[in-house]
């Protein structure tokens, strides 16, 4: 969509005014600074998704809409998670981060901050795997998506 002030609120407003769900939404400017790209995860029947697509296309700031789930695509989400890391847990947490291909990006005597990317379900699995009480804080970006192979969304 056009990288204009208010474009994001038009999309968000559309979803709330028509009663559609936003599971996650990420947006940032692209390599062309006049354009920004949004990945929005929503759920609904085929009819609802068709309406959502049409309604999004109607927004003046929206340049192009594709349903990535129509074909093969890749989805990634970033999570930063701060966990308590004391005594023997310290080694255990480190091992767990390695298994999930996470990186420890900040360290204190009492905590690690881990960076983890993957699909939403992988991040969920990591949260399951870590002792609940040791999680101090999490922050997630929501999914960004791109088509597989030669499939390109470009204006």
């Amino acid at each position: 969509m056009e990288n204009e002030a208010g474009a994001l609120s038009r999309v968000a407003g559309l979803f709330s005014s028509r009663g559609y769900n936003i599971e996650s939404l990420t947006v940032a400017a692209t390599e062309d600074p006049t354009l920004s790209r949004m990945t929005l995860v929503t759920a609904g029947s085929d009819d609802v998704i068709e309406q959502i697509t049409k309604q999004l296309n109607k927004l003046i700031d929206v340049v192009k809409v594709v349903d990535l789930s129509d074909g093969e695509h890749i989805e990634r989400e970033l999570m930063l998670i701060k966990v308590r890391a004391l005594g023997k847990d310290r080694e255990e947490i480190k091992r767990m981060a390695d298994i999930f291909r996470g990186r420890i990006i900040d360290v204190t005597d009492k905590s690690y901050t881990i960076e983890l990317t993957g699909t939403g379900s992988k991040l969920d699995a990591f949260l399951e795997a870590v002792e609940r009480s040791s999680i101090l804080e999490t922050v997630r970006t929501g999914a960004s998506g791109i088509g597989r192979g030669e499939r390109i969304l470009k204006v």
Binding site: G6, S9, S17, D47, Q51, K54, N57, K58, I60, V155
Partner: protein, 567 residues
Amino acid sequence: MSTELTGAEITVRCLQKEGVDYIFGYPGGAVLFIYDELFKQDKVKHVLVRHEQAAVHAADGYARSSNKIGVALVTSGPGVTNAVTGIATAYMDSIPLVIISGQVPTHAIGLDAFQEVDTVGITRPCVKHNFLVKNIDELAATIKKAFYIASTGRPGPVLVDIPKDVSQQKAEFIYPNSVTMRSYNPVTRGHAGQIRKAVQLILEAKRPMIYTGGGVILSDAAERLTELVQMLGFPCTNTLMGLGGYPATDKQFVGMLGMHGTYEANMAMQHCDVLIAVGARFDDRVIGNPKHFFNEDRKIIHIDIDPSSISKRVKVDVPIVGNVTDVLDELIKQLKARKEKPEQTALDAWWTQIDAWRARNCLKYDRSSTVTKPQWVIEKLYEVTEGNAFITSDVGQHQMWAAQFYKFDLPRRWINSGGLGTMGFGLPAAMGVQFANRENVVACITGEASIQMCIQELSTCKQYNLPLKIINLNNRYMGMVRQWQEFFHGNRYAESYMDALPNFVKLAESYGHVGMKIERPEDVEGALKEAFQLKERLVFMDFITDQTENVFPMVPGGKGLSEMILV
């Protein structure tokens, strides 16, 4: 050095370039520079209303009756919030408007300044698009875009918010000749392959029905539609927004359909085997409960410029996205090229059925009543004006009676708030209609509840000598609310009685107009004739009508089209 103009001058120059002859508005702090520039020229004539809601309704009535873009100018804060009802009204009915609003200076935005509201935020859900112009260099191009967006594709209101400092700053005035936007390219022509499929369905139809809406009016397709309907010999119904799209006095017209549609229109809609929907959107007031609608099997062809209108409430078989005029042209062309015709014996049998439904005479009412029936007033109005008036209406029973009993043969003659259902629309809209059609007769059909929602505009009418004729169907109730309370709420008339009504005759006179009170049915025609002979004056006609009259037929909410309550 090139001459630089202020933002206010640029704004007015843009309006001139767009050929705007009237702008409806109300001044205030944030738009003072723009008003100053309006004052210095005479190409764009400003009409001073008495409330910003009326400014937008007037611009709206102007647009609906003329196929031009209506323009309104309001100040920041309360100017904008007052305008919102008007903007939402236009949005729901897809009316092309450009609303220019003042905003507090850019450096004060977000600081809860005096008369500040988040205009772009407040209006976002009820405009086709809106802009906040923070940079003087973008002002002219933005206004150009606003006019382009408002009038192309599915039309709608577009708002341009101009901070006060931007209206003072200077820039070179360059008005673009055209607009290209990578994110906005509305289609016009329909898909030829889809049109071919539609032709095939039409030729195979045994019980066809043509159902048309506001899209026919908006794209000026009434002539094409009439040609198509008469070429095929099919029955045609219009929605509330589509009245005048097909001549109401023609025998192929089966009346309006929907909640208060005719028996024959609703039955034909329910029982047809091929439905051709043109510039209409299958809304809840038109087809009632969609589940019931699908109890009968039929093929649907849907022509509409807005893809999101297609398969929204009703799944269709042949969607055709395009401008109604262009699609109908192509459809007619393709039909003429084919040798086959729809089967005549089947069509005859279908008309026999429709005529049997028609014989039910669903719009009958007591013509010998000693109390004035509202339907009687509308029928007499139709006769006295010879069906040639521009009619605006407010919202409620009077609106439905007007739609049922005033037979519109021409498009853009019936001006009402169909989608939003805005009480208070009628009078200010009639002002706009009169400005766009100075030589024509303009009447506003209203009720004693609706008219009081924008009654202050009688003052505007005086200032500009607008000779409107106001037909007030005064039943001392919010009639439609009372009707629902009678049918669905055990006759408990909660707050629907209009107590302490003004003396409308004196009220009209105090504004400098002519007031008339008509109580007996036998006086209706004479009074109307007298009023319409006063060509230079606004006449407020207060008709004291039957308090208990209801609008029939009626499809109750949640029911299907063939489940009408009849007289």
